[in-house]
Symmetry: C2
Subunit: 475 residues, 2 copies
C-alpha cells in the first residue's frame, strides 16, 4: 500500500477542514463516538495525550499552592437559582437526574456543568476566620453540558476538565489569582502544547455566567478560526454573597470573600490537532506526544536489524524517551504513513546498510525532513531533536498566526478579514448592539480585548472606541 493510497483516507485539509478533523480524530484512534448522542469515548491514544496534559498542568497548579479535591457530581437544582446570571447561563444545558434507587427524587439533581455552586456551598461551611484564607483548591473531573451540535473534543455533552476554585480576603488578591492562573495557562499552552495564545479580557456578552470579569486565551487554528483554550474568571463577591462564603476578619466583623475560578478541558486536544495538524494527519509536540519516537526496521529479516532496533530502543528508554519499536508485519512504507498520521515527532529508520555505516535515518514529523545521524550517541541526538521540535513548532505556529492578524476600520473590513481566515483587530464603542451586529454580519465574535491597544472609532457605529477587540470566527 503506497503512501498516496493511505493518505487518501483523510480528507484534504485545504478542501474540507471539518471533515479532515473528523477523519483525523477517528482514524488515529484518539476518540470514538459514544452510544449516546453527543458523547465521546477517549481512546487510549487520546487519553495518553490528556494524561500528559494533566501531569504538566497539575505540577504547575501545585507549584502555585493549589491542592486537589473532589466534589460531588450531583447538584441540587435549587443551587443554580441562587446566582441569577449563573442559572440563566447554565440551566438550559443541564442534564437532570429525577429518579434514583428505584424512586422519584423529591428534588431533581443536576449533573454538574461547572461546580461554583456546590463548591461555594462547601466553602461557606469550611470558612470561619481570616486564618482560613486563602482557599485554593482544584478538581479534575467530568462535567456535562447538553449541547445541540457536538464534535469530539470541541463540544461534547460530557467532557473532562479541571476547575480551580479559590477564595480570598481581598479583591486584589482574588484578581491577582485570576491573572496568575491565566499566566499559568499561557505559559503551559506555549511551552507544552506549542500553541501561541492571545490572552485578554472578554466582553460582557462573552463572559462566564456569574463572573465579574472573564479572561480567556484564544488560539488560532489552521483554518484561521479561534478556539477558546482556557478561561480564568474573577467572580468578585457574586458567588460569596449568593452562597454565604463569609469569614470573621481580624477586626471582628463578618466579611464576604472574593472568589475566582479557572478551567481548561479536553478541548485542548482539539486545539492541538487543529493548530499543528497537516495533510498527513496529526503533528504532536514532543511534550504531550504519547509516543515521542518510533523505530522502524528496514529489511527486518536481515541479521542484526531487530537487535540494533532493540538496542536503540533500550537506550532511548533509559533517557525517558517514550519510544515504540514497530515490529509488525506491515511494510516500512505503510508504517511510515501510519506513524506520521499519528503525529509521532521522530521516526528512526534502521536497516542493514545503516548498521554497516553506523548511521540511522531520522525523520522529523514537523518539518518532514529526513537526515542521517550516527548510531553512536543516538539517544542524545533524539533528545536534542525532540527539544528542537518542541521549540520550532511553537515558532512555526506563532509565525502562521502573526501573519494572519489584520486590522479593520469598518464592518466590511472585519468581514473581509475573517472571511480570509484572519483574526481581526477593530475598535469598538463598548455597546452590545455593535457587538451583536458584528456577529450577525460576519459570523465572528469578540474573542478578547487587545490589551493596551487603542483605536479612534468603533468599526461598527463610528462613535468613540473604548476598546480594541480581536474578532474571529470561533469554535
Amino acid at each position: 500500500m503506497g503512501k498516496e493510497n493511505f493518505v487518501e483516507q483523510i480528507a484534504d485539509i485545504e478542501a474540507d477542514f471539518p471533515r479532515w478533523y473528523t477523519d483525523v480524530v477517528l482514524k488515529t484512534e484518539l476518540v470514538d463516538y459514544g452510544p449516546v448522542k453527543g458523547t465521546m469515548v477517549i481512546r487510549p491514544y487520546g487519553y495518553a495525550v490528556w494524561e500528559n496534559i494533566q501531569a504538566e498542568l497539575d505540577s504547575r497548579f501545585k507549584a502555585t499552592g493549589h491542592k486537589n479535591a473532589y466534589f460531588p457530581l450531583l447538584i441540587p437544582m435549587s443551587y443554580f437559582t441562587k446566582e441569577a446570571e449563573h442559572v440563566e447561563g447554565f440551566a438550559p444545558e443541564v442534564a437532570v437526574v429525577t429518579r434514583a434507587g428505584g424512586e422519584e427524587l423529591a428534588e431533581p439533581l443536576a449533573i454538574r456543568p461547572t461546580s461554583e455552586t456546590i463548591i461555594g456551598t462547601m466553602y461557606s461551611r469550611w470558612l470561619q476566620s481570616w486564618r482560613d484564607l486563602p482557599i485554593k483548591i482544584n478538581q479534575w473531573c467530568n462535567v456535562m453540558r447538553w449541547e445541540k451540535t457536538t464534535r469530539p473534543f470541541l463540544r461534547t455533552s460530557e467532557f473532562l476538565w479541571q476547575e480551580g476554585h479559590t477564595a480570598h480576603a481581598t479583591e486584589e488578591e482574588a484578581m491577582a489569582e485570576t491573572m496568575q492562573m491565566l499566566g499559568v495557562y499561557k505559559e503551559f499552552a506555549e511551552n507544552v502544547l506549542a500553541i501561541p495564545v492571545i490572552c485578554g479580557r472578554k466582553t460582557e456578552k462573552e463572559k462566564f455566567a456569574g463572573a465579574v470579569a472573564t479572561f480567556g486565551m484564544e488560539a488560532m487554528m489552521k483554518d484561521g478560526k479561534s478556539l477558546q483554550a482556557g478561561t480564568s474568571h474573577y467572580l468578585g463577591q457574586n458567588f460569596s454573597k449568593s452562597f454565604e462564603i463569609r469569614y470573621l476578619d481580624k477586626d471582628g466583623s463578618q466579611k464576604y470573600a472574593y472568589t475566582s475560578s479557572w478551567g481548561v478541558s479536553t478541548r485542548l486536544i482539539g486545539a492541538l490537532i487543529m493548530a499543528h495538524g497537516d495533510s498527513r494527519g496529526l503533528v504532536l509536540p514532543p511534550k504531550v506526544a504519547p509516543v515521542q519516537a518510533v523505530i522502524i526496521p528496514i529489511a527486518a529479516k536481515k541479521g542484526g536489524v531487530v537487535e540494533k532496533c532493540l538496542e536503540v530502543k533500550a537506550e532511548l528508554e533509559k533517557m525517558s524517551v517514550r519510544v515504540e519499536f514497530d515490529s509488525s508485519d506491515a511494510s516500512p512504507g505503510w508504517k511510515f504513513n501510519e506513524w506520521e498520521m499519528k503525529g509521532v515527532p521522530v521516526r528512526i529508520e534502521i536497516g542493514p546498510r545503516d548498521i554497516e555505516n553506523g548511521k540511522a535515518a531520522i525523520f522529523r514529523r514537523d518539518t518532514l525532513v529526513k537526515e542521517e545521524y550516527p548510531l553512536g550517541g543516538i539517544g542524545e541526538t533524539v533528545l536534542s531533536l525532540l527539544s528542537a521540535i518542541q521549540k520550532d513548532m511553537l515558532e512555526a505556529a506563532r509565525k502562521r498566526r502573526d501573519g494572519r492578524i489584520v486590522c479593520a476600520d469598518d464592518l466590511d473590513g472585519i468581514n473581509d478579514g475573517v472571511e480570509k481566515g484572519n483574526f481581526v483587530k477593530a475598535g469598538w464603542c463598548g455597546c452590545r448592539e455593535c457587538e451583536d451586529k458584528v456577529k450577525a454580519v460576519t459570523a465572528a465574535t469578540a474573542r478578547v480585548f487587545a490589551e493596551g491597544e487603542t483605536a479612534e472609532k468603533c468599526a461598527v457605529c463610528g462613535k468613540k472606541a473604548e476598546h480594541v477587540v480581536i474578532f474571529a470566527r470561533a469554535y
Copy 2:
C-alpha cells in the same frame, strides 16, 4: 490546650468504633458530607491519599500492559437488560437522567454504576480480528450506586474508582489476567497500604452480577470486621455474548472473546483508616501519607530554631520526603496532637537544646516511641525510619489479623467467633441455604474460600464440606 482535652474530640475507639471512624474522617479533614444525601466531598487531605494510591496503582497497571481510556458517564438503560444477572444486580441502585437540555429524553440514561455494558459495546465495535487481542484498558472515574445506608469512603452514592476491562482470545488468558490483577492488588495492599489481605474466590451469592467467578481481597479492620478491598472478575463469555464482542480468528471463524474486569475504589481510604487507626486518630503508612514528616519547632522564638527547622525541611525535600514545617502560633503540645490525629508517620521536634546537642527528637506515629537522633544526616535517618515504619505497620497488622482467625465446626462456633471480632474458617457444603442461614444467625457473610484448605463437614448442615469458607461480619 492539653493532649487529653484535644483527644476528647474523637470518640473512644474501643467503646464506639463506628463513631470513632466518623469523628476521625471528619476531624482530620479527609472528607465532608456533600449536600445531597449519601454523597461525600473528598477534601484535599483525603484526596492527596487518593492521588498517592492512584500513582502507585497506575504504574502497576501500565507495567502489566494496560492503557488508560475514558468512557461516557451515561449509559442507555436498555444496555443493562442485555445481561440478565447484571441488570438484576445493578438496576435497583441506578440513578437515572430523564431530562436534558430542557427536554424529556426518549430513552432514560443511567449514570454508570460500573461500565461493563458500555465498554463491551465499544469493544464489539473495535474488535475485528485476532490481531486486535488482547484489549487491556483501565479507566479512572466516578461511579454511582444509590445506597440506602451510607458512610464516607465505605459506601456512598458516588465514589471514585478504577475499573479495568480486558478481552482475550481464550479462557486461559482471561483467567490468567483475572488472577494477575488480583495479585497486583494484593501486592499493592500489602506493600503500599501495609494491609495484609486474604484473597480468594467468592461464593455464587457474593459474586459480581454477571461474572462467572469473582475473586476478592478481604482486609481485617480493627473491630474484627472484614472490608472487601478489591475484586477481580472472570466474566467468561457472558458479556461478550450479550454485547457481541467477537473477532475473526486465524482459522477464519467468528469467535466470542473472553473478558475480565477488576476494580478498587476510594473505599481503600476507609480500609487504611480502620486497619491502622488508633485512639489518637489516623496512622498512615508512609507510602500514601500526604505528609510523611512534620517538623515542629520548640521555643520557636529562640534564635536559630526556625532557621534549623527550615534547613532540615530543605534537606528532607531534597530527598523527596513530603514534609511540612508547622510554624503556626499554636503550642507544641497542640501541634503534636493535631499531627498525630492526622496520622503523619514521623514528627521531628527541634528546640534550642536540641540544636546545642546537635540532636533532634523524632516521634514515630506507629509505635508512639520518641528517640533522639543526630541532626547530622537527619535526612538519611528519616528515610530509613519511613521505610521501617512501612514494613513494621504491615507486620503489626498481620500479627493482629493472624491472631484473630479461628476455626469453627458449627453455627454456634461461627457466631461465637465473629461475635468476638474474628474471621472464622468453617466447612461449607456449597448450598445457598446453609450460606443464608449463617448470615441470618450470625450476621456474618462468606467472604472468600480459603484456597487449598479442606474440611470434613459443613458447619451448618453437617453434610460433606465442599469448601472451607472464611466467614466474617463485613463492611
